[in-house]
């Protein structure tokens, strides 16, 4: 007999219809959640996203090629996640397991739809079925392994890592999804009683079936119940994505696509811009670009930027992660104020959201930008925010003196140009 299994086996039609209704509902909640964040990013100055998709096919590819490559390498191959010891291992395990289960579910549904169109289009059988079941069965363990590590890390709480109550919900939810998935499989094996390769291609499920050891009737009724529990958990998870840390599934790749960070480069300001806007540098959140605002939502608070920051390491009032999180808070407050029609409640960034001392603590060493897995440019936030302070005359002390000297003598030492070559005298000792 060709190894296969019935999609929605043991599930009555009424439950199948309810399943699809709930799937649609959870995706609607997901879409609404994404839309809410997207509206926040729209507060920023335009990045002309429309330009990306205009022109011939070749022209469009030319424009999106860099971004597509970044998404493939940084997100797809997890390149920027590497270099962080066991944390990297856990993230990659979870990611590989999750993606396998996600792609597997999509393929399963594709098979289901195709087999309804024509029986001959069904592909979930034979050698494909064996490879599919085996791959998902084994990679599901990676997913659980990664989840368990991250649960453990929530208990240990490394100082650089951000913590939210929803993190527990997310990770325990993942654990429950993984475990109920295996139980559903084991119960299915118990009532379906596959033989030979059809059973052995699911080694974890087969092992669990042996442990559960139920008769066919008990397995059928428990299978139906646990299948529903598993489905509810999955729909809950889909609906939760935009409201928890899981949102990095969406914002991370989007930001990696748009972020063309070049270390050591800064965006210029023109006099025309200053005349048109009446200010230098950002003063409220709307003065950042939409891409920059999206980057605030891409932040997972993994704390890698904080760990490498020399200012943070020497107890100065700067953490690049804190800057990003504070700006994110300002974005939310600004949106709320504008929605309520209270322009006066829009928080000014300087002083209120970010203290000047925080901005002056930065050495522009670029370590934070270089290490961020989702390519957030903390440095450009900090350095452009400084522009506003300087324009307002808020810089004093020795640094202000250096700037004045650069203005008057074209060098920060404030010495005359005529003395620039004095160092050469010692090269030709007078005899």
């Amino acid at each position: 007999m060709t190894p296969t299994r019935e999609t929605f086996g043991n599930i009555p039609l009424s439950s199948q219809l309810a399943f699809y209704a709930l799937a649609a509902a959870s995706m609607a909640v997901f879409a609404w959640g994404v839309y809410r964040r997207w509206k926040l990013w729209r507060l920023g100055t335009s990045i002309n996203a429309r330009d990306l998709i205009t022109g011939s096919l070749a022209a469009v590819w030319q424009k999106i090629r860099g971004g597509a490559k970044r998404v493939a390498v940084d997100a797809g191959a997890q390149k920027r996640v590497f270099g962080h010891g066991i944390g990297t291992f856990a993230h990659v395990s979870m990611y590989v397991g999750f993606m396998a289960l996600f792609v597997g579910t999509v393929l399963l549904e594709a098979d289901n739809v195709l087999s309804h169109i024509h029986h001959a289009l069904k592909f979930h059988e034979g050698a494909y079925y064996v490879a599919y079941e085996f791959t998902l069965d084994v990679l599901g363990l990676l997913f659980l392994l990664g989840t368990l590590f991250f649960l453990g890390r929530r208990l240990v709480k490394p100082p650089a890592l951000g913590h939210r109550a929803t993190d527990w919900y997310v990770l325990l939810g993942f654990l429950a999804i993984g475990v109920t998935g295996y139980i559903v499989e084991a119960l299915r094996i118990l009532w379906q009683q596959p033989t030979g390769i059809g059973a052995h291609c699911s080694p974890v499920g087969l092992w669990l079936a042996g442990v559960l050891h139920l008769d066919v009737a008990a397995a059928r009724s428990s299978h139906f119940l646990v299948w529903w529990i598993h489905s509810f958990l999955v729909f809950g998870f889909i609906a939760s994505i935009p409201f928890t840390r899981l949102f990095h599934f969406v914002a991370g790749p989007m930001h990696i696509f748009l972020a063309k960070n070049v270390l050591g480069a800064m965006p210029p300001v023109t006099m025309e811009e200053v005349e048109a806007t009446g200010r230098v540098g950002p003063a409220d959140i709307r003065h950042f670009s939409q891409q920059q605002l999206l980057s605030l939502d891409a932040c997972m608070e993994c704390g890698r930027c904080e760990e490498v920051c020399p200012a943070f390491a020497t107890a100065k009032p700067l953490s690049p992660k804190r800057v990003v999180q504070d700006l994110k808070g300002a974005m939310e407050k600004t949106a709320a104020a504008l929605a309520a029609g209270k322009e006066a409640d829009v928080p000014p960034l300087h002083g209120t959201v970010i203290a000047p001392e925080t901005l002056w603590s930065c050495t522009a060493c670029s370590a934070c930008v270089n290490t961020c897995p989702v390519r957030i440019d903390q440095l450009t936030f900090i350095l452009t925010l400084r522009r506003h302070l300087v324009a307002e005359g808020a810089l004093s002390g020795t640094a202000a003196t250096a700037l004045r000297r650069m203005q008057s003598n074209s060098n920060p030492w404030g010495l005359p140009a005529a003395e620039r070559t004095n160092w050469t005298d010692a090269l030709t000792p007078k005899s």
């Binding site: 070049v262 270390l263 050591g264 480069a265 800064m266 210029p268 300001v269 006099m271 230098v280 540098g281 490498v308 020399p310 200012a311 390491a313 020497t314 107890a315 100065k316 002056w360 930065c362 050495t363 522009a364 060493c365 670029s366 370590a367 270089n370 350095l383 925010l385 400084r386 522009r387 506003h388 302070l389 300087v390 324009a391 810089l395 002390g397 020795t398 640094a399 003196t401 250096a402 700037l403 650069m406 203005q407 074209s410 060098n411 920060p412 030492w413 010495l415 140009a417 005529a418 003395e419 620039r420 070559t421 004095n422 160092w423 050469t424 005298d425 010692a426 090269l427 030709t428 000792p429």
Partner: protein, 278 residues
């Protein structure tokens, strides 16, 4: 490509209009007594290798790196525009600078304002000259460049921001003649800052919170007797940091170490103590 003998040791673009490479000295080596020694070492090396170079002299202005990163964009643009005009007037194509902040500004900041040049860090040019056999050791070279262990502090604007970390090591390997380098845990692209970037060079720092103290501590922990750097800001900060740690290690630019190794130091000591202007 040798410099005619009748030209000054460091000819200006006016004195040597047929120069092939412009040596961008930068403000630190122009005015800071300690950093001036890097420029003199560079000139000795360039002349020894027979490089046809020139400096801008009093026509050089600050690149504006600190101004831009401190947030004074228009002061930066003023300086950048003036420098680009000067560089274009003398038809400069290739620039060597020993300051990573100058390298980054000339390369990345100036490109935004129409200044496009081939910019190399001095360690890149020196590595090139060494591999071309143009910097041979003088017979009976005076002294081994570095006694005891040597470590190298990667400047962030060189190693991380511009990806230049192998050239300094190649030059250093020649300069310390077969000794192996003691690497700090954080090196190359993962280097830690000296604390002077982003305009912090011009700010006062609480002695208890100095980045330089922490970083120099890491350097001294390798057991190094010599801390090599490739940036005049790092040189200042690491020197302060070594002192703050109560360390004895010498802090030197790679070019200075190479000069020692090749025995290119002037024979008479007083030459090094020429009146400085700072």
């Amino acid at each position: 490509m040798s410099t005619p003998a009748d030209l000054p040791a460091a000819p200006t673009v006016k004195e040597n209009p047929s120069f092939e490479i412009l040596y961008w000295v930068g403000c630190a080596a122009s005015y800071d007594r300690r950093a001036q020694r890097i420029a003199r070492a560079m000139v000795r090396l360039l002349r020894h290798a027979g490089v046809n170079f020139a400096i801008l002299g009093k026509e050089e202005k600050c690149t504006g790196d600190s101004a831009r990163r401190l947030g004074d964009e228009f002061l930066f643009q003023e300086l950048a525009t003036a420098n680009i005009e000067t560089l274009n007037k003398y038809n400069v194509k290739r620039i060597v600078a020993h300051c990573p902040h100058c390298v980054n500004a000339l390369l990345k900041d100036y490109a935004q304002f129409g200044g496009h040049y081939e910019v190399v860090h001095h360690t890149q040019l020196l590595a090139e000259l060494i591999s071309a056999g143009k910097l041979p050791a003088v017979a009976g070279a005076s002294a081994p460049a570095a006694a005891g262990a040597v470590t190298y502090h990667d400047p962030c604007y060189l190693a991380r921001v511009n990806g230049i970390h192998e050239a300094p090591r190649e030059v250093l390997n020649t300069a310390i003649g077969g000794q192996s380098l003691c690497e700090m845990k954080r090196n190359r692209a993962n280097t830690s800052c000296c604390g002077a970037g982003g305009g912090r060079m011009w700010m006062e720092e609480d002695p208890k919170q100095r980045v330089s103290t922490q970083r120099a501590g890491e350097a001294l922990a390798t057991g190094a007797k010599t801390v090599a750097t490739g940036c005049p800001f790092c040189l200042t900060m690491m020197s302060d940091g070594v002192a703050a740690n109560g360390g004895e290690a010498r802090v030197l630019d790679i070019a200075e170490l190479l000069v020692e190794r090749l025995g290119l130091n002037p024979p008479a000591a007083p030459a090094n103590n020429a009146p400085a202007t700072s």
